[in-house]
Amino acid sequence: MAFHKINVTINNELDQLIVPSNMTLMHMLRESLALTGTKNGCSAGECGACTVLLNGEPVNSCMVLAVECDGAKIVTVEGLAGKKQLDPIQEAIVQEGGVQCGFCTPGILISSHALLKRNPNPSEDEIREALVGNLCRCTGYVRIIESVKVAARMQSVTD
């Protein structure tokens, strides 16, 4: 097994790590860095629970090799909130009851946050489409979709 030295910025902190060739980004976050907010639901890129931002784009971190992240910027759920306040999508999900068991929540938050960055006023259809890769078994998605709408409104007020 070959090992690689990578430089990667995670939640605004630059890290240097030595990772084996076959290590996924998800495992690097969860096992090497104990950033366990990123969840492992299927290890196959099908459920979205491990979604993180890779250079601003939402990706299934179980489908990305750690070594590919050399020089990259990663944001996980632990890095969404500011120092003093939650990100609007976090605030909205708390307020609207868009969380139940919470296991899909980190991925939902990252996908929604990315949607609101590229499209500050998404339509209902656009919200549904953006979340289609994030499976949730508890909420029926109703309050999650509502949370994204509320977060969009919160953002437009603060912007």
């Binding site: 366990t36 099908e46 996980t76 139940q100 296991f103 549904r128 078994r137 999650i144 979709i145």
Partner: protein, 784 residues
């Protein structure tokens, strides 16, 4: 403080308090079982599983695997001879002589990495003698079927389950009420139907995960994603012949359970492996593929219904025969069979009923409890028959239901009386909200629109004496710590318990926290987090504990103020006297008590209130007739309706609108009750439209999210409404009863009835996929 009006004390009961766990869960701070860090001594477990649905084990050779570097232990059935099982002890932790489903555990490996453990599995050689499998429960119940459990007669079993030794029937539950044979002659309309409900899986987004460690003294700790920490302690300790005091289960947040993480499925495997590598924590994390067929599945059902009514539409008789595909072992299947038997009339008053509900061993995955515990499967057929019977007698389906449904005091199928129920009100509200009796035009010429409605009832299916306990403790600053043994699965029970503790004690909701994670060493006993019973049962225990704490506090203050406790109260965290109008905040006495005058010592001290709840009134049922005084603690009832469109070109169904109304007794947190109704509707919809474990010759052919589709954000109805009816439960906290499971019980038949309303076809069972609907329309000549 101004004088407080006794009648007007602020209370969090009935308020939409924000979820107590929400902030942790949106920041990534919430810890789940796979998030716990164990350091470098952690070993990884993998399981060698049967590739055959039914076979005898002739020989297991682990020598090659043992010599693989990095392998620390290998265990087989030889190491653990004890039986295990919740109601019927019918399996070994690892198979000993025989395998009974594809995936049955044959050996376990612990190694320094998952890769090495996986490699070791390939080196374990198992010789089998393949036997004929049983793949259909109706055939399995017949004398022609090969016997899967020849030792059935020797298994330990609880006294309300009736296995039939010499057959594959692990439980036969009977109802014999009235005179069914004589009643058919009085019927003006009779419907006879057969339904086939496929196996599905719970699909929690968090797969099963358990880590076990055995220390040098033999004490076992299990960190696990679990709905049943105490039941797991009990079952595993008994199976392994160790004291309960040497078995500790620590259970953090559960990433979705839906029943799959109740009882014991994979947890005993990792404990068994850990006994061979003392000092090392050993983790077993199921792959998503394993999750689909080696964790519990929702059992399949073949159901026969016959029902008849008189010319006025009054139900006269029902005859039901259920064959439950319990799978290879029956951790819960036997009790699903019983529950569907004592609920087999549906939420209707029927004078003559004959039911035979069988749990049948097959060579399919092991049946576990799943949200609804047999009720979604049973109602799927029953509520379609009710529609058909109404049509046959020429009545509107809603009017037919209003006429026949259970009302307060109705005689139940088990002979007892229905407690106070708001079911008629649920029907009325649901019908109104869906616009029953009106028909909107379809959205396109190639579409047809329809509406359907269905009712449900469900009781907590549990042993008669399932108990709860709780403690309520005050900290120096007057904040409150509540100990419970029930689990937060996402349903919101920690929030509701905090509301109940705050409401009973008289403190702000925000000052209450729940003592987590649940740890059998410190947490008070709770039977299991199942059966939608916690708000009611654990809620009573928490309320009793808070009352006890309150009594201790008021006694201390009364003594200090030379008043009587009856004149005192706690309001918003402050002890007040209605008589003298004195007041003192809890933080001034919570831990240190109160000084006596003139430095003459102290009174009071640390406050720990304790409470418990166990129903004492549940009676048995006659094994031959299923009749008895009070079979269950209560029934939650409700109704759902849908409006949908069927695409004539493709058969695709779109749910336009969904309406749910349930009688929850009292909504402690109304928005969370509605959230349960929404989530349950969508899970029910998903099971109606998409989900089926495709079993072929005992193999699950679709064990992935690509091949086993669940509802996504794109599928959820755009108009989903939820209504609450509150007819109080006499022994519930503030009158509350459960709602978690009920919300997916009537969804399949509501959708089936709407499909019929739209295009006039009915299918033998779900999922109502586009392909099946299109072919049914083709058969019926609706499309060409």
């Amino acid at each position: 403080m101004a004088k407080t009006d006794r009648q007007n004390i602020p209370s969090p009961i009935g308020e939409n308090s924000p979820r107590i766990d929400a902030r942790e869960k949106v920041t990534g701070a919430a810890i789940y079982a796979d998030d716990i860090q164990f350091g470098n001594s952690l070993l990884h477990a993998r399981i060698k599983r049967s590739p055959h649905p039914h076979a005898l084990i002739k020989k297991i050779d682990t020598s090659k695997a043992s010599s693989l570097p990095g392998v620390k232990a290998i265990v087989t059935g030889e190491d653990f001879p004890g039986y295990i099982g919740l109601y019927l002890r019918d399996r070994y932790i690892f198979c000993r002589d025989r395998v009974r489903y594809v995936g049955d555990p044959v050996a376990g490996v612990a190694a320094i990495s998952e890769e090495i453990a996986e490699k070791a599995l390939e080196l374990i050689e198992v010789e089998y003698e393949v036997l004929e499998p049983v793949l259909d429960p109706e055939f399995g119940a017949s004398p022609k079927a090969p016997l899967l459990h020849p030792d059935l007669g020797q298994y330990a079993v609880v006294n309300f389950i009736f296995p039939q030794p010499g057959t594959n029937i692990s439980n036969h539950f009977k109802i014999r009420k009235g005179d069914v044979d004589n009643a058919w002659g009085k019927c003006a309309a009779i419907i006879e139907r057969k339904y086939r409900i496929p196996h599905i899986q719970h699909v929690p987004i968090e797969p099963h995960v358990a880590t076990a460690k055995v220390d040098e003294t033999g004490e076992i700790t299990l960190w696990v994603s679990s709905q049943s920490p105490f039941a797991q302690r009990n079952l595993i300790a008994e199976s392994m012949g160790i004291s309960h005091s040497k078995m500790r289960v620590i259970a953090p947040y559960v990433g979705g359970g839906f029943g799959s993480k109740a009882g014991v499925s994979m947890e005993a495997l990792v404990v068994a492996i850990a006994t061979k590598v003392k000092g090392h924590p050993v983790k077993l994390l199921l792959t998503r593929e394993e999750e689909f067929y080696t964790a519990f599945v929702r059992q399949g059902l073949i159901a026969y219904f016959k029902m008849g009514c008189d010319e006025n539409g009054r139900l006269l008789a029902m005859e039901n025969k259920f064959y439950w595909d319990g799978g290879a072992y029956t951790e819960y299947g036997v009790n699903v069979t019983r529950a569907s038997g004592y609920s087999s009339s549906g939420p209707y008053e029927v004078p003559n009923v004959r039911t035979d509900s069988h749990c049948v061993y097959t060579n399919h995955p092991v049946s576990g409890p799943m949200r609804g515990f047999g009720m979604p499967e049973m109602h799927a057929g029953l509520e379609q028959c009710i529609d058909e019977l109404a049509h046959q007698i020429g009545m509107d389906a809603v009017e037919f239901r209003k006429l026949n449904c259970l009302k307060t005091g109705s005689t139940l199928v088990t002979g007892s009386k229905m407690h106070a129920t708001g079911l008629p009100d649920c029907i009325k509200k649901t019908a109104e909200a869906i616009g029953w009796g009106t028909k909107a035009p379809p959205s396109a010429p190639n579409k047809r629109r329809g509406k359907g409605l269905a009712l449900m009832w469900k009781a907590p299916a549990m042993p008669p004496n399932a108990g709860s306990s709780a403690w309520v403790e005050l900290a120096e600053d007057g904040t409150v710590n509540v100990g419970v043994g029930g689990q937060e699965l996402g349903q919101g029970v920690f929030t509701v318990m905090a509301q109940i503790a705050a409401g009973t004690l008289g403190v702000p909701y925000e000052s209450v926290r729940i003592a987590t994670p649940v740890d059998t060493r410190y947490s008070p006993y709770e039977w299991q987090t199942v059966a939608s019973r916690l708000t009611w049962s654990m809620g009573n225990a928490v309320s009793n504990a808070a009352k006890d704490a309150k009594r201790q506090i008021l006694d201390t203050v009364a003594e200090a103020w030379e008043e009587t406790p009856e004149d005192l109260d706690i309001v918003n965290g402050v002890v007040i006297s209605y008589k003298s109008e004195k007041e003192i905040p809890l933080k001034s006495l919570a831990v240190y008590g109160l000084p006596k005058p003139d430095d003459q010592g102290w009174r009071g001290g640390p406050v720990v209130g304790r409470g418990k709840f166990m129903p004492a009134y549940v009676t048995g049922l006659d094994p031959e007739t299923g009749q008895g005084e009070r079979a269950v603690v209560h029934y939650t009832t409700g109704a759902q309706a849908v409006e949908l469109e069927v695409d004539l070109d493709t058969g695709r169904i779109e749910i336009i609108k969904g309406v749910s109304t349930f009688d929850v007794g009292k909504a402690i947190n109304p928005e969370m009750v509605k959230a349960q109704m929404e989530g349950g509707f969508v899970q029910g919809m998903s099971s109606a439209l998409f989900e089926s474990l495709q079993l072929k010759d005992g193999f699950v052919r679709n064990p992935s999210f690509v091949d086993y589709r669940i509802a996504t954000s794109a599928d959820t109805p755009r108009d989903l409404q939820a209504y609450i009816v509150e007819v109080p439960q006499d022994d519930g906290p503030w009158g509350a009863r459960g709602i978690g499971e009920h919300s997916m019980v009537p969804t399949i038949p509501a959708i089936a009835n709407a499909i019929y309303d739209a295009v006039g076809v009915r299918l033998e069972g779900p999922p109502f996929t586009a392909e099946k609907v299109y072919l049914a329309m083709l058969d019926a000549g609706i499309v060409k």
